[in-house]
Amino acid sequence: MSAVADRKAAPPTSTDARGRGALGSRLRGTVLPPLLAVVIALAIWQLLVVLEVKPAYVLPSPATVFGQLFTLLSDPTFLSGIVRTLSRGILGFLIALVIGTAIGLAVARSRFVRSAIGSLLTGLQTMPSIAWFPLAILLFQLSETAILFVLVLGAAPSIANGLIGGVDEVPPPLMRTARSLGGRGFGLILRVILPAALPAYLSGLKQGWAFAWRSLLAGELLVIIPNAASLGQLLQFYRELSNAPSLYATMIVILVVGMVVDQVFARITNGVRERRGLSALRN
């Protein structure tokens, strides 16, 4: 009994020590470089301000902008703008996820569907999303639907292509093994093909989100809906009022949201790679 207790007690201390060491090197490896980059960027910004490259009402100092950012973060209109833009982004992305996945599966599994729309999907991916807006406005007027329409058109092809690529690149030996184990039909798709395609699918999702976020902001600049503040609309609004500090602050928020979501995807992808023993390839 006491032996068990001892064994249970011992590991935490050693993991703790290892944990602290790992934390230290992780700080050096992952936190320090981006922090340094931000400091350098701020220094260059400050330098440009000091040199008065542009007048202060066009190029405010970092201090002014971050001061304004804190003010805005307690302003209900601004906060509701963040919430509205984010919820549009998430809703549109989820719709694109469902549509893109369905199309991706259809193309990956059916030769007929592939030759019908396979190249169209890649074509759609190269289509600048902003080019869809006149049509979207024509179809849906200045509405949420118009924005979501373009967002989904921007994101779904990437998601579909990620899945198609993943399915196409399932290693033939793995497929042969799965078949020799008796895998057939839906079971084979669900238990072997989709899990094998997961890493490529995840990078499709990540790219899909990037397209969604871009389309969304473009949409909010063009499709102005009254009494519905959004980040894109606020950008437009601050420019019209020549409110440079707020304009910069809003852009920082847009950038940070993009980076945070990217980090979420990176975490998920790394987790998947690590479980499969693929992360060692990076070192």
Binding site: A178, S180, G183, R191, R276
Partner: protein, 251 residues
Amino acid sequence: MTGTATAEPIRIIGVGRTFGGAAGTVALEQVDLVVQEREFVCLLGASGCGKSTLLSLIADLDAPTTGTIDLGGRRTAVMFQDANLFPWLTVAGNIELALRFSGVPKADWSRRVTELLDVVRLPGAEKRRPHELSGGMRQRVALARSLAQEAEVLLMDEPFAALDAITRDALHGEIERIAEERRLTVIFVTHNVREAVRLGDRVIVMKPSPGRIVREERVPLPRPRRMEDPEVARRAGELHDELDLQAGGAR
């Protein structure tokens, strides 16, 4: 032993396989082979002699251009040179997938996994991930996964060719023991003469262009055998010399 003496053998009659149409490459030509119940047969030959093609045909992973293969209602399980473990699954998950595909009820999985890991001498490895295992351990898991199918015929395509000699020798012993315990019929593809003599009740020698059977050799040595047994070495040497003579500058 009841019934085994009267069981129909595996009959491979006039089997040919041509890739790429009528004028294509002839991978196999007019192969006839009868494998008895519980026999351990080694298909031996240089690369391109069609031995792996023949194995895929027996495994029903490919269809012959001519001829017939009659397994007498037996099921087959295959093991390849690479373990091809599914990297997103644990060791237990890999074996469970084979059980699932074989229609084994979920309630029996855990017991069967434990039992199979004992058979391949990897007890307690359930939760480990494929990338954490050595090459030899991976092949043991692949073997457990193949055995999970409860097939009567085990088809092995150079399963130990990528392993170091010590690991390979250990696995030779395991496969000999498991084939005996589980009353398996084994068809084992190799390009290693010594390995063929070490394992086989019978060695079928194949030659390329086109792939065909050129001779067969019984190995009536007692089991368990060892790679270093003088008699294994002597017979392998003879077979080797003969293969060299036959190859005679062709390759």
